[in-house]
Amino acid sequence: MGNKKKLSLSQKQNISGWIFLTPATLLIAIMSFYPMIRAIILSMQSGVGARITFSGLTNYKRMFSDAIFMQSLKNTFIYLIVQVPIMLIFALLLASLLNDKHLRFKGLFRTCIFLPCATSLVSYAIIFRSLFAVDGYINTALVNLGILQTGYNFLSNPFAARIVIIIALLWRWTGYNMVFYLAGLQNIEYSIYEAAKIDGATYFQILRKITIPLLKPMILLTAIMSTNGTLQLFDESVNLTSGGPANATITMSHYIYNSSFKYVPNFGYSAAMSFLILILVAVLAAVQMKVGDKRD
């Protein structure tokens, strides 16, 4: 008898567990997985409104002959290849400097560097747009210092506009990644550093031989997150440069948004382009995990 009652009690508990996780699980299924399947079906359809027809891989073929989409793909990869490594190295450098027990004003430095994370993406994009405008503060300062004769239109030169986006991204996200490294560094025994210093190791030796190997999982995580974020860049492209000049800074998400909601809506084609982003995210994450997992 006692045994039977106990069993029903644990069954009861088991059922409670299932009930507890159901709402969250269903929401993710309906709001992420189901739309994903819909997007794949949609990506194989063409037409607008009621005249939807199955078109197989036409949308996918169209992508590669679409000059603007190829430009957006190129732009996104420029941001990825240039900005992400600089940001992660910089974040690592700052975290290792701030992880010094003897450093004064540590909290103040950390707060300042972390602060950009509190601003929304739209806000900082607009601040940077204004700072780098022809009549913006950067130009005013450069003219006053005698470096420039008149204001330079950073945002109308393709190269300069990309640099501005990269500077803005570095400003917004370096502190964010630094926080991950600081959290990771807390798990490393501080005495290892003290011992290395007594042995006469230089800052860069400590960084290379102790900090980086021990932080490897964290570095891998931030690399995957940053890659994922960069492939989905939207707010900056829309609000900082409006994708211009002549689509020189437009990102994939921005172009997908435009072709779904701004121009004549072509949901099928947009879905195909967005599916490519999903594939890129998955492939790059897999590559990074493979590289990061290698034992040396």
Binding site: F20, F105, L115, A118, F234, V238
Partner: protein, 268 residues
């Protein structure tokens, strides 16, 4: 040599700190100036704040956008915390093979880029009549693998003895969660609340897609719309940015530690 290196370290950190603060400082100062003085390069607070404010109130419905943003973000925070913590608790406390398998499937959702599901979601939501509604804002990100992970992680440290004692006292499973788990995990809830609120407040792409009506727009949308004019009034624009940033910046300064723990929490 060590001394020089030490000084160089402080100089470097000071420069980086100043670069981090400057754009925000410039934004706040510019909000108190007429556009022409912003262009001239004013770096100290001016006395044009109230003029900018009255111009801003003419340029857009700031009050409405503020109310919308607070409404969407607060409802989102409360519901997301409840749903995800309940699930995280369920996945950890009652874990078995089946539940663990479901959890690892849910984690895949982290890899799905939002743009990839944006169009089907838009179609679904217009069919269900959810455009321009709070529910429409909430649903796609109400339940996230990240938050579930965060609470699953914290449930791991929930003492088994307390659980058993509460059961012996006759508390049912849901009441154990409500009356014992939630109060014990206050700090996890604080971290989760901050990152959820900030994420909801700052979100832009999804509101831009479903808030088609002018009266439903959020603060970031209002700020983004202001920049569209032919001549930019920098004073007014920066004041809008300032108002949009104040809530999140205040939270940041009051609860920086919990914010940092929130973003890194699920990976420890």
């Amino acid at each position: 040599m060590t001394k020089i290196r030490n000084i160089a370290k402080y100089v470097f950190l000071t420069i980086v700190s100043l670069i981090s603060i400057f754009p925000l400082y410039w934004m706040a100062v510019s909000a108190t100036h007429a556009s022409i003085d912003v262009i001239r390069g004013a770096l100290l607070p001016g006395n044009y704040l109230f003029k900018n404010l009255s111009n801003l109130l003419i340029a857009g419905d700031v009050r409405g956008a503020m109310i919308n943003s607070f409404k969407y973000s607060i409802v989102m925070t409360v519901l997301a915390l409840f749903i995800c913590s309940l699930a995280g608790y369920g996945f950890e406390i009652y874990h078995d093979k089946a539940k663990d398998a479901i959890m690892s499937v849910l984690l895949l959702a982290m890899m799905v880029p939002f743009v990839a599901i944006m169009i089907p979601l838009f179609q679904m939501f217009s069919k269900w009549g959810l455009l321009n509604t709070t529910l429409g804002f909430l649903l796609p990100t109400l339940s996230t693998p990240f938050l579930i992970m965060l609470f699953r992680q914290s449930a791991r440290s929930f003492p088994h003895d307390i659980l058993e004692a509460a059961r012996l006292d006759g508390l049912n499973e849901f009441n154990i969660f409500l009356r014992i788990f939630i109060p014990t995990m206050k700090s996890t809830y604080a971290s989760a609340a901050i990152i959820t609120f900030m994420g909801a407040w700052n979100s832009y792409l999804w509101p831009k897609v479903i808030m088609t009506d002018k009266t439903s727009i959020t603060m970031p949308m209002l700020v983004a719309n202001l920049k569209e004019g032919y001549v930019t009034d920098y004073g007014v624009l920066m004041l809008a940015v300032l108002l949009c940033s104040i809530p999140t910046v205040i939270i940041f300064f009051l609860l920086q530690k919990q914010f940092a723990e929130g973003i890194t929490g699920a990976v420890k």
